[in-house]
Every structure is written in structure tokens, then in C-alpha cells.
Symmetry: C2
Subunit: 221 residues, 2 copies
């Protein structure tokens, strides 16, 4: 893949906390970012705020236009509606590296838990729908609170990158590496994405017990 | 629970690499360890070697006798036969803290992958069988190679401890804390054990890619 500085990073669901937080970090790293949202107006408003706050290159567009503009497209939308959104963007996302960041979780009074996904994981669902795209799973376990906090200069976490396409996983690891403190680590094939998505339920449990914003580091790598 | 020094730590499947490795570390930490195996003779032979190597208190017994002797009983057996073994030890394990360390994994030419478990996870299967025991999940992601290597003085990893019984999870966290470099971290309820077991498939993938013995650290805790 080309140098990340020459690519456009699109973030679908870019007006939610996780999407906004990732956009902030990539903008600060000097990358060109397009936020996508259901309406272009919402995305443009969030993008204007981020561009102002970071001095970076952030614009906004509808999810479809952001998909068309992006070279690497992050999917940071709620699990509810994930499949429908991707179905609707199949054409725009053809040929692109699509990074699924979605955690299918449920919550009840006992806290968070992993939802069963017929395809195995959100990432596998994306791959099943986007047969013309290069689907990778990543950025599942990163705290939105830390990403969005401008006083946090370094995000001390590894990003496990799951995928079967080496060039695509390498590019997404490099994308993670642009954020200070963050490191992209190859995490296995796409069929092993489920547990990385689901691990977010454990991290939320840890956050509650320890009053933390927990992340994951891989040792000996 | 009582001080760990006053308790006996039993390790079922204690003659395999993971069980032997954990036994070694607990023996070095000054704890009283009983290795269990299908035959008392195999367990006694492995225990004699470990006692010699560590100068620690390690004995061997059949899995049933080790279960009866242990206050905290670690289950470190192959997934194949897991349910049958626990069914056969229901009586001996009643009232005990039982720590399931088993990772239900499959392997094919594409590498490791997580197996589907009807109960959700090995830990939940153990809890479903051992209704009179206090079942906890832990020690899933620890490299047997590092545990068994006497030249490795510190095991740089966190142990995610899963369970719904606070006193039991606290005891198992304390057990992990006895090993230099290792730290017990509460990882959530037992219903969130699956992804921690399955994450071992990712760590094996990481080991293959990076020629490492990967472990996990939780940041901000």
C-alpha cells in the first residue's frame, strides 16, 4: 500500500465517541480523515469541530460519500444495523481496505457480555457481505474516553489486527502505529476475530472493578 | 480464604507442560503443590523431578486423590475428556475452589482456532458440572514454554481471573500474584470466560508471526 500520508482514512460512524476519538488521533498524526455519518450535515459539524481542535485535515460526508473517498475505511458503527449499513455500501467499499472495529456486546444488570454472531464475529460478517473488499478487524479494545481526551498524549495499548490479507493487515498495523503509545500487532486470522471483539466485555468489567480505562498489551513482542 | 501458604494447590493434568510449568512456579513461590495425573505413578515421578529441581514441596497422586487433597484445584487437562474427568471428580471437588485453565482450541493447516463449546466456555462447562464447587477461570494465556524454563525468572503477564464468587476470584488472583512478574487481574464474570480462553488462539498466531512467547498485560490497572 502507499504511504499512509497519501491515503484518506474514512471513519463510518465517525460522529460517535469511538469514531470521533480515532479520527482525532489520526488527524493529530497528520493523516487525512473523512468522517462519515448517516447525514452529511452531522458529519460535517463533527468534522469542523475536530479540524478546529486538532488543526488537522478532517472533513465530513455521508457514510456513502465517505466510503467512496476513503482508501482505508473504518467501520465504527453500532452493532445494531451493522449488516444493513455494509450491505448498502457494498459498491463504494469494493476494492478498499475495510477495518471493522465493531464489538457485538449486550448489557444487562450483570454488566456486559458478548453476543452470539451467526457469522462468528462482526469482522466475519463484514467479510461475508463485502466480498469485493479487503476486510480486516482492529481497534476493538481502545478506550473511547482516552481517545477523546486531548490531555491524554499517549494511548498505551496494542491494537490486535486480524485478517487473512497480509498487505491489508500490515497497512492497518501501520495506521495504529501513527498514534503515540499505540502499536499495531498482528493478531491472527479473521476466524479468530470473535474473541478480540468479545474481550471488550472483559475490559469493561475491568474498568468497572478498577475504575480504569483498560487496554491490552502483548508481551514479548 | 486462608493464607495461600496454609493451603494445598492441586494441579490436575499436572504432568503436561502447562500443569508442570504452573506447579514449578508455585513450588518456587513456597506453596504446597500436589500434581494429579491419570496414574499416581506418573504424577509421583513428575513431582519428584520438580521437587528436586525447585527444592519445593511437590507431591504426586491420582487426579482423584489430588482433588481430595487440594484446597485450590487447577484443571489443566486437554479439552478432549474435560467434561468426563470433571464428572468423575464431582464428589472430591465439592466445596473447593476449582480453577479451570483449559482452552478449547482446534488446529488445522491455517493454524489455531477456538472451538464452539455448548456451555459457552470450558469454565462454564466446569461450573455446569461442578455445581457444588466454586469455579473460576484463570491461567489461560500463560506460555508453558516460559513457565517450564528455569532460566526465566519473571513471567511478564497478567492472568485474567473470571468468576462470579468474589472470595474465590480474590484467592486465585493472589495465587497468580505469588509468581514473579505475574499479576492476577479480575477479568469479569464467568459468562465472559469464552473469549479469554479463545484468545489463546490469537496468542499462538502471534507467537508464530513474531517468534515470541506472547502474554497479555492489562494497561491502566
Amino acid at each position: 500500500m502507499d504511504d499512509l500520508k497519501d491515503l484518506t482514512i474514512a471513519i463510518l460512524g465517525g460522529t460517535g465517541p469511538q469514531g470521533r476519538g480515532l479520527a482525532r488521533r489520526f488527524a493529530v498524526a497528520g493523516l487525512t480523515v473523512v468522517l462519515g455519518s448517516r447525514t452529511a450535515e452531522r458529519a460535517e459539524a463533527a468534522a469542523a469541530e475536530l479540524a478546529e481542535a486538532t488543526g488537522g485535515a478532517v472533513s465530513g460526508a455521508s457514510n456513502a460519500d465517505a466510503s467512496a473517498q476513503g482508501d482505508i475505511v473504518l467501520v465504527v458503527v453500532p452493532w445494531d444495523g451493522h449488516a444493513e449499513l455494509l450491505e448498502s455500501l457494498k459498491g463504494e467499499l469494493a476494492g478498499k481496505v475495510v477495518v471493522d472495529c465493531v464489538n457485538p456486546l449486550g448489557f444487562d444488570k450483570q454488566g456486559p457480555y458478548a453476543l452470539l454472531v451467526p457469522e462468528g464475529s462482526a469482522t466475519q460478517q463484514a467479510a461475508a457481505i463485502l466480498t469485493e473488499s479487503r476486510v480486516v478487524g482492529a481497534f476493538h479494545n481502545v478506550s473511547a474516553v482516552l481517545l477523546e481526551d486531548p490531555s491524554v498524549e499517549s494511548i498505551e495499548t496494542d491494537v490486535l489486527v486480524l485478517g487473512d490479507d497480509r498487505e491489508a493487515t500490515d497497512a492497518v498495523q501501520a495506521l495504529a502505529d501513527t498514534v503515540p503509545g499505540m502499536r499495531g500487532v498482528y493478531g491472527g486470522r479473521i476466524r479468530n476475530a470473535h474473541q478480540v471483539e468479545a474481550l471488550t466485555a472483559n475490559l469493561i468489567s475491568i474498568n468497572r472493578r478498577y475504575k480504569a480505562h483498560a487496554g491490552v498489551r502483548v508481551t514479548d513482542v
